[in-house]
Amino acid sequence: MQRQVALIKQSLFDQGYLDEQFMALEELQDDANPNFVEEVSALYFKDSARLINNIDQALERGSFDFNRLDSYMHQFKGSSTSIGANKVKAECTMFRDYCRAGNAEGCLRTFQQLKKEHSTLRKKLEHYFQLARQAGPKETARRPK
């Protein structure tokens, strides 16, 4: 079980879903906060859902206020760096590039992609944490090889 958990985590890193920040979070986890990483992750997904909603609404308005969109995305990107959401972060950067270029089409496309990555990551992490809990607390604190 524990090995399974370790493998899942490893694959998340290998596939670029997560970066070193996630490892850094794990290192912060200790007896005082045994579920720190999971808590942070939950917090991220809750907050980022709100941000995604804001951006969705802004895009739906169709007015394409690029400054505002860029600002939203800046927020979102900052948030995504907190747990090491690598692929999500990449989409954020692309979105901002399109904003600066004034490319509405590019923004829309990238945003769809971003939402997809975001959703994928959430599912993967939920699965990972679930297994980790079952496997036992020790495992989550260990760094992937």
Binding site: A24, E27, L28, F36, S82
Partner: protein
Amino acid sequence: MEKGFSPVGLRVLVVDDDPTWLKILEKMLKKCSYEVTTCGLAREALKLLRERKDGYDIVISDVNMPDMDGFKLLEHVGLELDLPVIMMSVDGETSRVMKGVQHGACDYLLKPIRMKELKIIWQHVLRKKLQEVRDIEGCGYEGGSDWITRYDESHFLGSGEDVSFGKKRKDFDFEKKLLQDESDPSSSSSKKARVVWSFELHQKFVNAVNQIGCDHKAGPKKILDLMNVPWLTRENVASHLQKYRLYLSRLEKGKELKCYSGGGKSMDSPLKDTEFSSGHQSPGKSSYVFSGGNNALLQKATDINPEPLASAPVSDPNCDAIMPPKTKKTRIGFDPPISSTAFDSLLPWSDVPEPPESKPVLYENSFLHQQPLSSQSSYVANTAPCLMEEEMKPPYETPAIGTCVNPDEFIMPQDKGPTVTLQDLDPSISNMKLQEFSSNVTNNTESILRSLNWELPESHHSASLDTDLDFSWLQGERFLANTGLQFQDYSSSPSLLSELPPHLWFGNERLPDPDEYSFMVDHGLFIS
């Protein structure tokens, strides 16, 4: 030096609108053994900082926040509190980083932030303290290292109330030393390569600030431009400004401790003697005017601190001779709240950043300049309010003023509106012992008052104060003069006061008790 310094227990305030980062940073900082306070809004952060002016050692803030721009917060913190601020952002663009530096950030971190970066943020706190000490040394202070060692020790080892008390006491001692050393400005130039704020330079600084006026923020850039000193940089000015303010606020705190209680007659501080002496050179017209203002302020001050008086005057040996015998008597008049206020301004400026209040101005004057100031008080008055008004928008806490005399009281942006004139002085305030005072003052004083159109209220001061008042008034005048009310082109005239925002003059919140009041008024130290 900093042998007593320890990063453990460093009090960090983290400001970030991102809840995820806030949680992560809190955990990271706690792992560094720091004492962490988190805050999701810039305004909330400012509120926390202002409530506990000495409650934090360093601020870490994100650049992008919904309610306030991070750079703005940075400016506020730097101006009002002179705390080191570290900016954070996911954006590492050169222009943004540059903006951070320009606004005074001591560091700029990119997200994601690593533990190793947070582990060493204490260096910024230490560096700032050392800089202050060095600047002070640059002005003649000898005991910088000791001071900072003691300061840091007490501060960081976290002894709570004791610590703060100790700190204040140490600060006070430090200030005293500054005053003593102050009279030898030449020593500073040989000491360090860093910018030495000579009296002339400081004077230019103060002039520039005053020139900027009350409508605009006396920002370092503007001050620098007005000063027209080619080799001086904006950073020099900014740091000088901050230090001055901090110094003034520290003095206040020190004064609080020493403040006399219960009626201000018990000022015994030996320092007073010295202090008084320095202040007697100028006609003190302006001081008189100020004193009126001080009264009002003093009213607000709960504590009157004679200390400031003592510390401020540094320069006049003659006064000393005269002073001592009278000091005790006059002490009442002198020391009280007014004097503290006056003194604050008089106290040697030691690069302590002070909340934008006028304090810095007053302070600088007194600190650098021991000459008689005929019109100086007006100058001070002018600058003070300007600074205050400009930079300190949020109400300044009365307690911060330190209870005693501090220019803060003088400049506290209390509730009053912007114009302060002697004539406009709130009768309840200006009526304070002014009347009594005037009856006891010399012709000089009276004429000054009259020229200012000041209504002297009925004095209800005890008879015993009369003599004191006379003397103290004289002394106060001189004191004020010495204390560096370096007014340059001002003559004590009512108009000066009119330029001052009333709130600056009067510490609206506090009303000193009658005894204190009379002191303040009498000595004209109120000027601050």
